[in-house]
Amino acid sequence: MADLNLSVDIGGLKLHSPVIAASGTFGFGHEFEPYADLNRLGGISVKGLTLKPRQGNPAPRIAETAGGILNSVGLQNPGVEAFIEKEIPYLRQFKTKIIANLAGSCEDDYVQAAALLNEADVDAVELNVSCPNVKAGCAAFGQDPVALEGLVKAVRKVLPAKPLIIKLTPNVTSIAETARAAVSGGADAVSLINTLLGMKIDARRMRPVLANVTGGMSGPCVKPVALRMVYEVSKAVNVPIIGMGGIETGEDAAEFILAGASAVQVGTANLVHPNAVTKVEDGLIQYMQDMKFTSIADFRGKLQIG
C-alpha cells in the first residue's frame, strides 16, 4: 500500500493533518487530552478571543434541535493577553498548530489584538467576523463585503508575519461575495461555515429557550448548507478553504474536501464524542485507502458533476 500523505498547506500554514478542532468546541485543548491524541491533530482553533476578557451571555446558553444544537455562549473568553501567557505554553507541548480565533466588536479591537498575536507564538490567526451572538457589530463585518474588506486590510497590516484565515458567516445572501471581499482584503485562506442564526421556542411557556432569544445552530443538521457554501466559495476564490459544519466522520470530511476544502474543522461533535477528531482522521485515512488516494490533493475539489 502506498504511503498516505495527509499534509496540507493552508496559505502558508503547514499542517501534518487536515483535521483541525473548531473554535469554541475544544476550549484550549486541556479537556480533550484524556480522549484524543492532540499530536495527531493538524491544528487547534482555540476558543474565540477578544482584546479584553468577556463573560458571555446569560444562561440558558444551549438548546437541542433535531440533529444539532443552538448556542448563545457569546464569546466568553479570558482575553488575548491571558491566552498568550497561560494557554500557548500548554498547547506548544503538542505537535499541533495553534490557530488563534479572534473576534471583536470594532475594527480597533481587532487591530490591537491582532498586533499582539503577530508577536505571539501562534501559527495562524482566524478572524471570526461571523459570530452572531455579539450585538455590537461582529455580525456586521461578516455580512457587509465592503466593511469586511476594510477590516481584513487593517488586520493584515499589523499581522504581516502570520497566515490570516477569515472565517465566514453563512448568514448572508451570497457567501461567494464575502469570500471574494476577504481575499481582496488580503486573506491567505477562508474557513466556513460559522453557525447559522436560529431560535428555539417553548410553546407551553410561550418563551424562547435561549436567554439570548437567538443562537447559532451547528451540528449534523447544518452540513448540507455548509457543503453547498464550501462548493460555492471554491468556485469564487482561489485561496485554500477550511470546511466545517456538522462533520462527525471521515466520510463527512471527505465530502467537504470533494466540495473544494483543503482542510476541515470538527466542532459540535467534540461535545458529544470527545474523541471525534481522532475518529474523523481515522475515517478519512480509511476513505483514502479505499479510494486509492495518496494525498488530499488527489481528491480535493474533484466532485464529479453531470
Binding site: 446569560p58 444562561a59 470527545p274
Partner: protein, 262 residues
C-alpha cells in the same frame, strides 16, 4: 472516560421517576458522591443528558451504578424505555462532588429530584461514621420516593411534604429549622435552586459551612463548551460541570449567574 454499561435492573419508583442499575464492573475510576454522567439517550436526541449519581452499590454480587431520573423530556423518555440487557453509552464520572473531609456531624436537605445525589452521599457519610441526619421534602405524598433507601442506610431521616399530606408539613428548610438544635459541621443540600437559596441563606446566617449541588443546562459536561458558566467569588468565570456541580461556602459570587449581556 467513555463506557458502555449494561442495564441490570430498571424500576419505576413513581409513574414519572425511573431507577436503573448499571453494571460497572469495567469501571476502574472512582465514582464520588455528587458527580454525574453524560448519558446517550438515542433516538433523535443529539446531546447527552447529565444524570447525577444516585448511588454506587452492589446488586446480586455485581458492582452497580444507580441512576434515578425524572421522565420529563425527549431524552429521559427514551431512557425510561430502556430494558434490562440494553447498553447505555456514558461519559464520566464528571464534576467535583461533595467534600466529606473534616465532617463529624452532617445535615442534608434535599427537595424533590434533588434527593437523588444525597443518597450516595449519605452512604459515604454513614460509612465514614459521620452522624448523619437527612431532611427530604416533596410536594405531596404522591411525589415521595427513595425515602426507604435513605432509612436503610442507617441515617436519621425526616420526611416532609409541602402540603402536609405525609410526614411533617412545610418546606424542607422550615422543617429543618423546626428540628434545628445543634450546628452540624456541614450542611449539604440539593434541590430546586429556590430551595437551596433558602438553605444557603440559613447556613450563612448561622455560620454553618454548606455545600450545594447546582443544576445548569449543559452541553458537553466536561468543560469544553462554556455553556454552563457560573461566576466565582473572585469574579472569574467557572463551569458548573467542572468546578461544580457542588459548590461550597463562598465559592460562587452572589447568585453565581452571568447577569448582564456581553
Amino acid at each position: 472516560m467513555e463506557y458502555n454499561l449494561t442495564i441490570v435492573k430498571t424500576e419505576h419508583l413513581l409513574p414519572n421517576i425511573v431507577s436503573m442499575l448499571l453494571d460497572i464492573t469495567e469501571v476502574s475510576e472512582e465514582i464520588l458522591p455528587g458527580q454525574f454522567f453524560q448519558v446517550t439517550c438515542g433516538g433523535d436526541t443529539y446531546l447527552r443528558r447529565p444524570i447525577s449519581v444516585c448511588d454506587v452499590t452492589e446488586y446480586e454480587g455485581t458492582k452497580v451504578l444507580r441512576l434515578v431520573l425524572e421522565v420529563k423530556g425527549k431524552g429521559t423518555h427514551l431512557l425510561a424505555e430502556k430494558k434490562v440487557g440494553d447498553v447505555l453509552c456514558v461519559l464520566g464520572p464528571f464534576g467535583r462532588g461533595f467534600n466529606l473531609n473534616d465532617v463529624a456531624k452532617a445535615d442534608l436537605i434535599g427537595g424533590g429530584l434533588g434527593v437523588c445525589p444525597l443518597l450516595y452521599l449519605t452512604r459515604a457519610l454513614v460509612q465514614k461514621g459521620v452522624e448523619t441526619c437527612v431532611f427530604v421534602g416533596f410536594r405531596n405524598q404522591a411525589a415521595i420516593f427513595l425515602t426507604e433507601d435513605f432509612k436503610a442506610l442507617g441515617a436519621h431521616v425526616v420526611v416532609s411534604t409541602d402540603d402536609g399530606s405525609f410526614g411533617e408539613a412545610g418546606y424542607a428548610i422550615q422543617v429543618y429549622k423546626n428540628h434545628f438544635t445543634e450546628k452540624p459541621d456541614m450542611l449539604y443540600t440539593c434541590g430546586p435552586q429556590v430551595m437551596m437559596n433558602t438553605v444557603v441563606a440559613f447556613a450563612d446566617e448561622q455560620e454553618i459551612l454548606y455545600q450545594e449541588s447546582r443544576e445548569e443546562r449543559m452541553g458537553c459536561g466536561f468543560g469544553a463548551c462554556l455553556v454552563c458558566a457560573c461566576k466565582m467569588q473572585d469574579d472569574s468565570m467557572g463551569h458548573v460541570c467542572k468546578d461544580g456541580p457542588v459548590f461550597g461556602t463562598g465559592m460562587l459570587s452572589v447568585g453565581g449567574k452571568v447577569a448582564h449581556h456581553g
